[in-house]
Amino acid sequence: MAVLTEEQTMLRDAAKGWASESAPVGALRKLRDSKSKQTFDPAAWAEMGQMGWAGVIVPETYDGSAFGYLGLGLILEETGRTLAASPLLSTAMIAASALQLGGSDAQKQAWLSKIATGEAVATLAVDEGAHHAPARTALSATQSGAGYVLNGTKTLVLDGEAADLLIVAARTSGAPGDTNGVTLFLVAGDAAGVTRSHLSLIDSRGAAKIAFDGVEVGADAVLGEVDKGWAVLEPTLDRAYAGLAAEMLGSASAAFDITLDYLKTRTQFGQVIGTFQALQHRAAKWFTDLETTRSCVEAALEALDAGADSRALASLAKAKASELVHLASNEMVQMHGGIGMTDAHDAGLYMKRARVTEALFGGASFHRDRYARLMGF
């Protein structure tokens, strides 16, 4: 655990208490069993807003607490522990970052306060294929009068159906694969020509597929500069990688704690199964991976707070966290034996969430490749 300030410790403890009492794993199960198409529980999100968690990285001028990325990471870790469904990542981390990194005063004025208080849900719409590939943005934005017209489809948009604001990566020049020629646009979630359809995913939260069919926006909808959206998009995505990694770290830690408890209580052959070395070593190795991943996640968040180049650290954190949740969810099921295979046990929910977070914003392959490129090999 990074050395936390007193305020950070208080924030973490508050998040831990709230998540375990108000948003335990059972809440996600309930959301799933209600067959709702909502990707989060609005009442829980409202509470998070009241506690100020949506504004952790937002400056005080816009009603935030300017508490920084490590602070938000601590909350994401705690909500990750209980698989709490909320737009914290999409809105408070990713969209708030994009607006701060690239927004004009007017854009910040229009959106940041609403985000910080939990009034507005906002999200980034970037990927268009089955795999994370931001540079391959193809959705077109063509100039029309003083504004632009957007045409194309985004495959997986977090909390996309609920979002008041979509931050859309579009191509204004160049070809898919070029980082030049990408432009970010602010589009109202209910703008004419926007069709949002629900994707029912294995993690019971789901996401939206969003089609843009001749969506008209004004010139003031451009976030950052035309053709130079990459300068905002890439650092925004680094925040997405690091924030998601913090959530994943929390899920893996909870899976570990639950399993460790089981190893200490389940008896077979007249002894608790935790006495079997075959399981002890794997628990110890799992713990090693948890600790090394924690170092990476915290380092990435701290680098963001310090304003340092955090690209390699963000990919390191996301790659390690992807490997970790994979290991953690598999081990959780295996060490629980048959009971871990049942729907009634939480192990399955951790496993399904793990597979979605692994793939989201690039899997381990994507981030290993990016890391290698950033390291110059």
Partner: protein
Amino acid sequence: MADFGGTDLDAFRADTRAWLEANYPKSLNAPMGEDEAPWGGRKMVWKNPDAKLWLDRMAERGWTAPMWPKEYGGGGLSKAQNKVLEQELRRLKARPALMSFGVWMLGPVLLEYATEEQKQRFLPAIVRGETRWCQGYSEPGAGSDLASLQTKCEDKGDHYLINGQKVWTSYADQADWIFCLVRTDTSKKHEGISFVLFDMTSPGVEARPIKLISGSSPFCETFFDNVKVAKEQLVGKLNGGWDIAKRLLQYERQNISASGFGGGGGLSLVEAAKKELGVDGEGRIADGDFRARLAAHSMDAHAFMLTVRRAEAESKQGSGPSAAVSIIKYAAAKMNQERTELLVEALGLQGLGWEGDGFSADELAAPRAMLRAKGNSIEGGTSEVNLNVVAKRVLGLLDHQ
């Protein structure tokens, strides 16, 4: 008739091929849906009547249990002939005529341990797919440590009385009969267990389905409340059930691994990866990291397949399942888990769908198969327990505890 005489075997192949071609219903060439698995039994609903026809035709020749003796309804084939039959079935890409715990697990131990009356009574019905069996082994407190089971079986003079609970009983709600391990002597652990058979419609039997993480419900909790069982349904000796139980587990592992677990939807891993990850100028999967991991997996799977073949060839000389069966079950579970994981990963977002729009049926099958595969290293004895067995029995390493 000589089993290995080339000409005899060639003639057998020609006959078999001709018969299969004439008798395999063409309508079964379509992929088999999960709800079409031919488990047979009283509750089976045949979606496609040709599947039932196929079962009946195969059963008529005893080819649903090709190597069992003819007097019990089996095919009476030699190993060599059976191999030919399997090859010819594969050549036709034929669906299995019957999937059956009776054929895979129970039948072989009945042949070995049951009385003549019991063999006559139970085996032919298994061959014909009339009786579907389930396995009543595990209990809430007795999983890996199976011998600690507590389900009580009392001698009431002219019958037995059974009370207790089983769990993870696959398809108990669909099965007609159960082969069940019960405790007949509480003063001893292994030597107090007996092996009994009874009808699942007996008064006092209740099976409640348990839902799995993959969304399906093949499992049950099974409760026995004063279930009366006729004494002639005890197999082997009273308190001698543990040897039968272990023998059956060997057949279970052998069958689990021989089938390689299978499943995973109709998608080809390589094709899916090429489609969703793209290819480079030379037609290779563009993502080098994924390609390297896929290559490593493919080589492991290849090595596994060669090992299965070698073990088969070697077992022709010996008799019964060998110790190598334990590593094969372990390796098969690992292979199937890796393969289903790689498919989900290759599909990216398209491999994360649970239901509804935006995904093809094959895509939706992929994550469910991946989740189901997690049970491969648990069912039929966990991988850890299998490795313990290999370490102790095969390698001669002593117990640490």
